[in-house]
C-alpha cells in the first residue's frame, strides 16, 4: 500500500513539475518569438538574452497590490481562477511520458491515472475547461467580461464536436482506446523512412484536431474571448496580480495538455524521433530518457507552432468562426468518421 501511494505521489509531482517548470520558458519563447516575427527585440534586458525576465514577472505578479473590485460576486470571483487552473491540470494525469517499464519486480506505468479509458478521461477533463472562463465572466459583473465568457463558452462547445469526431475516428483506426496501444501502433516506419504516425493515415482528422485545440485553448486566431480591440481584455478584465496569473497559467497548461493529446493521437506520443533509435540500440538503458526527450521535443515544436500561428494569422470575426465550426468542420469531421468506419469494417472482414 505504502509503495503504491509513494509511486502515485512521485508521478504526480513529476507530471506537475514538468509543465509548471516549462511555463516561464514557454512565456519567454512566446514574447521573444512575437518580437522576432515583428522585427523587434523583445524582453532582452534582464539577465543574458532576457532569460531572467520570467522570474521578474513572477516576482511582480506575487508582490503587486491586488485590486478587488467591489461590484463583483465575491465567492465565484475568487473561485473562477482556481477552477480554471485545476481543470487545465486535470488532463495531464493520463498522459504517459514514457513506455511502461519493469522496476522493483512489477510493471510501472508512467502516468498518474492508469486506465485503458485514459483518452476518454482526458477529453472529459478538458471539456470542463470552459467553466473557469464562464464563471470569471459572470462573477466579474461587467459587460465586457460577460461577452468574452459567453463567446469563449459557445466557441468551445462548438469546436468540441469536430474535435470529438476526429478522436473517435482515430480510436476506430487503432482499434483501441488505450493510450499505450495507440502509441505502439505508431512506432516503426513505412518504407523504411516514413514514421508510422497517425497524421499520415488520417490527415483530415489531424487538421480537425489541430483547429479544434486552437479553439479549445482560446488562442489566436480564435481568441474571441479576449479580443482586446473589442472587449478590452474579455473574461479576465477585472482580475489583477496573482489571480490574473492563474488564468495565464491555465491557458498555457491547457495548451501543453492539448498538444500532448495531439501528439499521442497523431505524432506517435513518446515513440522515438527518427534518428534516436541509433542511440537507443547502443544504450538500451537510456530508452526511457530518450522517450521523455522525444515527447518533450514534440511538445516544444507544437508550442512553437502555437506561437507562430498566433503572430501570423489575424483574429476571426465571430460569425465566421461559428460558420467554420458548424458548417465546414463538423460535416467534414462526420464524413471523415464515416469513411474511416467503413474502411475499418472492410479491413476487418
Amino acid at each position: 500500500m505504502f509503495e503504491v501511494m509513494l509511486e502515485i505521489l512521485i508521478k504526480t509531482v513529476v507530471i506537475l513539475a514538468l509543465p509548471l517548470g516549462a511555463l516561464p520558458i514557454i512565456i519567454h519563447v512566446e514574447r521573444r518569438g512575437a518580437a522576432f516575427m515583428q522585427k523587434r527585440l523583445g524582453p532582452n534586458r534582464v539577465g543574458p538574452f532576457g532569460l531572467l525576465q520570467p522570474l521578474a514577472d513572477v516576482a511582480k505578479f506575487m508582490f503587486k497590490e491586488e485590486v478587488h473590485p467591489t461590484h463583483v460576486k465575491p465567492f465565484f470571483y475568487t473561485a473562477a481562477p482556481i477552477i480554471a487552473l485545476v481543470v487545465a491540470i486535470l488532463p495531464l494525469a493520463c498522459i504517459p511520458v514514457m513506455a511502461p517499464f519493469q522496476a522493483f519486480g512489477r510493471t510501472i506505468f508512467p502516468e498518474v491515472f492508469r486506465s485503458d479509458m485514459g483518452i476518454f478521461y482526458a477529453f472529459a477533463a478538458s471539456a470542463l475547461g470552459s467553466y473557469g472562463i464562464l464563471l470569471a465572466g459572470w462573477a466579474s459583473n461587467n459587460k465586457y467580461s460577460m461577452l468574452g465568457a459567453l463567446r469563449a463558452c459557445a466557441q468551445m462547445v462548438s469546436y468540441e464536436l469536430s474535435l470529438s469526431t476526429s478522436v473517435v475516428a482515430m480510436i476506430f483506426l487503432y482499434g483501441s482506446n488505450d493510450i499505450h496501444v495507440m502509441i505502439s501502433a505508431q512506432t516503426g516506419y513505412w518504407f523504411g523512412f516514413l514514421p508510422k504516425w497517425g497524421v499520415f493515415l488520417q490527415p483530415v482528422a489531424a487538421l480537425l484536431f489541430l483547429v479544434g485545440i486552437f479553439a479549445e485553448s482560446n488562442r489566436l486566431p480564435f481568441d474571441l474571448a479576449e479580443g482586446e480591440s473589442e472587449l478590452v481584455a474579455g473574461y479576465h478584465l477585472e482580475y489583477s496580480s496573482m489571480k490574473f496569473a492563474l488564468f495565464f497559467m491555465a491557458e498555457y497548461i491547457h495548451m501543453i495538455a492539448l498538444s500532448a493529446l495531439l501528439i499521442i493521437l497523431f505524432f506517435g506520443g513518446y515513440s522515438l524521433l527518427p534518428g534516436l533509435e541509433l542511440i537507443a540500440e547502443k544504450a538500451p538503458i537510456l530508452l526511457a530518457v530518450l522517450q521523455l526527450t522525444s515527447l518533450g521535443i514534440k511538445i516544444a515544436l507544437m508550442i512553437w507552432f502555437f506561437v507562430w500561428v498566433r503572430w501570423t494569422l489575424p483574429r476571426f470575426r465571430y460569425d465566421k468562426l461559428m460558420d467554420l465550426g458548424w458548417e465546414r468542420l463538423l460535416p467534414l469531421g462526420i464524413a471523415n468518421l464515416i469513411v474511416t468506419v467503413l474502411f475499418v469494417y472492410f479491413r476487418n472482414q
Binding site: 472529459a124 470542463l128 464562464l134 463558452c153
Partner: protein, 177 residues
Amino acid sequence: MVADVFLTILTVAFALMVVFSKKTVVSAFALLMTLLSLAMIFFQLGTVFLSAVQVLVNAGAIAILFVFVMMLINLEQFGNNREKSKVKLVISTFTVLVVLGVFALVINNNIDSLSVVNLTDNSMKALFDKLFNSYFLPFEMATVLLLAAIVASVVIATHEKDESIEQMEILKAEEKL
C-alpha cells in the same frame, strides 16, 4: 465504504441545493456539481467509461448550455417567482410519490432479476452489447423522445420569433407613416 457514503451525501446535498437555492446561477452550478459527483460514483464503481461519458456529455455540454442560457437572460431581473400555490404543491407531492413508488417497486421485486452488466472488465464492449442487443427498443424509444423534444422546442422558438419579427415590421411601417 467511507468513499461511497461520502459521495452519496455529496450528491444528495448538491441535488437539494439545486432545488432550494434562491439564486438561479447557484442552482445551475449545484446541478453541475451533482453531475460531477454522480460521475465520481460511477468512477468509484470502476466504470471509467461511464463516468467519462457523464462528465463529457452531461457536465461538459448540457450543464454548460444551462449556465449559458441563465447568464444570458439574467433571470434575477424577473424577481423571485417562488410563490406558493396549491396546484404546485399537489403536483410536486404526486411526482415525489410516483418516483418513490417506482424505486420501492424496483427494490422490492426486481433487484435480482435486473441483468447487471459487469462494466469493470472491457467495459465498453459489455455496455454496448447490452445497449444494442438486449435493450435496443428502450434505447431507440429514448432517442425518439429526444427527437420529439427537439422538434417541439424548434416549433415553439420559431413561432415566437415570427411574431416578434411581424411586430418589428409593423412598428417600422408605423414609423414610416
